[in-house]
């Protein structure tokens, strides 16, 4: 049996834990995972240059590269960069779509456009990325600017963890939004990543 070609996944730090879990569950010993800082999401124009650097560095060592980013507010810049290298990425505009699956996400967004979404990662790092990242700790008066038009918070849950559920509920209270938990599991995300990795293995 031949060893599969080495694969590099360059991922968003917000997906690091989930990607590592997929690697473990699937026994992908030939897959190397490198993550960029999740904070880049607060300045999306910086994602593409950071990705270019990671790709340039990685292509010297790896035959296959997969990018675990969606468009992530890059105005199509990530797509254009990856097209130039012939590299694929996760589908959709942002990670909510592939965690929930595109169809389910469209239903949620259609039912209430004023929905703020959290994933497991964002629930865990809410204080750093939302409360402090948006300056709400220092300037609570900005709450209205950011969240004045939102009505509810939907937690797109990957792990079935009551502690995370409780934290997400507290975040909703902090933002003054109705709370709803949407159990998503890993299946949609697993499928989006695995179908590429399996293809290279054959």
């Amino acid at each position: 049996m031949t060893m599969p070609s080495p694969v590099l996944i360059i991922g968003c730090g917000a997906l690091g834990r989930e990607l590592a879990e997929l690697k473990r569950l699937n026994g992908w010993s030939h897959v190397t995972l490198r993550c960029l800082p999740a904070e880049l999401h607060n300045r999306p124009e910086r994602i593409t240059p950071a990705l270019r650097e990671a790709i340039e560095s990685g292509r010297r060592e790896f035959e296959h590269i997969f990018v675990a980013y969606a468009d992530c507010g890059s105005r199509g810049d990530i797509e254009r960069l990856l097209a130039a290298y012939g590299i694929e990425r996760l589908p959709g505009a942002h990670c909510y779509e592939f965690f929930a699956s595109g169809r389910r996400f469209a239903e949620l967004a259609g039912a209430e456009p004023g929905t703020f979404y959290l994933t497991d990662f964002l629930v865990r790092h809410f204080d750093r990325l939302v409360r402090r990242g948006l300056g709400l700790d220092r300037h609570p008066e900005l709450m209205r600017n950011y969240f004045g038009n939102y009505r509810r918070l939907v937690y797109l849950s990957q792990a079935n963890d009551p502690a995370l559920d409780e934290m997400a509920c507290a975040h909703a209270r902090f933002l003054g939004l109705e709370y709803r938990r949407e159990p998503c599991g890993f299946a949609p995300f697993n499928q989006a990543v695995t179908e590429r990795i399996i293809r290279w293995r054959s």
Binding site: R43, D71, R75, G76, P113, G114, G135, H139, N149
Partner: protein, 235 residues
């Protein structure tokens, strides 16, 4: 960009000569100090500055620095919002004075976030900076249907229609609005500007907008240029 802490207690804006006061207002806008901006605005008006000069030299001048530093990655969204809130405090004082002066607006703009989308931070910044540049703004708010845009175009007859979207799922609605304008024979009467995080110039061309505007400062520049071009073409 702020007053030294030990001097702050004794600091009095009214003691500063005009030039230094304007410089200080730039700093206060940068730091998002709404009360200080309101105070500085009142002081300049009391010294006989006309409202337009206060707006142009103190407020818009200060916001241009904020905009440039945001573009360069020196400032982040929270600081820009605080600065915008401070500018609003000054604008609230100047607007009635400007209205009384009877000065003609540079142009008129109807603006709104498209159907299905509730994000309005960018739209509000554009509206405020356009107002600061002398435009009259009719803000339709969020989740705006094509019928509402069309009705506003017929009622207000603006020079410009501005549409905003933050989501890839809602941005295609801009084409729905532009197509409705075409069907009703309105498209050629208005400049259409679009903006929002997932948009780019290619998308603007594809949906038939006159221009995509990357940020609020760009929107002001483009709006002024296109209105001028249309007026020259009609003359």
């Amino acid at each position: 960009m702020s007053k030294p802490a030990d001097a702050a207690a004794d600091f009095n804006l009214a003691d500063l000569p005009d030039g230094e006061l304007v410089e200080q207002m730039f700093d206060d806008l940068y730091d998002g100090l709404a009360d200080e901006i309101a105070e500085g605005t009142n002081i300049l008006l009391a010294r006989g500055w006309d409202a337009k000069r206060v707006l142009d030299e103190a407020l818009v001048g200060g916001m241009n620095i904020v905009g440039a530093d945001f573009r360069d990655g020196i400032l982040f969204v929270p600081e820009v919002l605080l600065a915008a809130n401070a500018m609003k405090a000054g604008m609230a004082i100047l607007k009635p004075v400007l209205a009384e002066s009877g000065a003609e607006p540079v142009g008129k703009m109807v603006i709104g976030t498209v159907k299905g989308d509730i994000h309005d931070i960018g739209k509000n910044l554009v509206g405020m900076m356009m107002e600061g540049a002398g435009f009259e703004i009719i803000d339709l708010g969020i989740n705006t249907h094509a019928d509402t845009y069309i009705a506003a175009l017929r009622e207000h007859k603006p020079d410009i229609l501005g549409m905003s979207a933050l989501l890839t799922t809602t941005m295609p609605y801009m084409k729905v609005v532009i197509d409705a304008m075409k069907e009703q024979g309105l498209r050629d009467r208005h400049v259409v500007l679009i903006g929002g995080a997932p948009l780019n110039e290619e998308f603007g061309k594809a949906v038939g907008a006159n221009a995509f505007c990357r940020d609020a400062a760009t929107a002001v520049e483009v709006a002024k240029r296109l209105i001028q071009e249309r007026r020259v073409a009609r003359a």
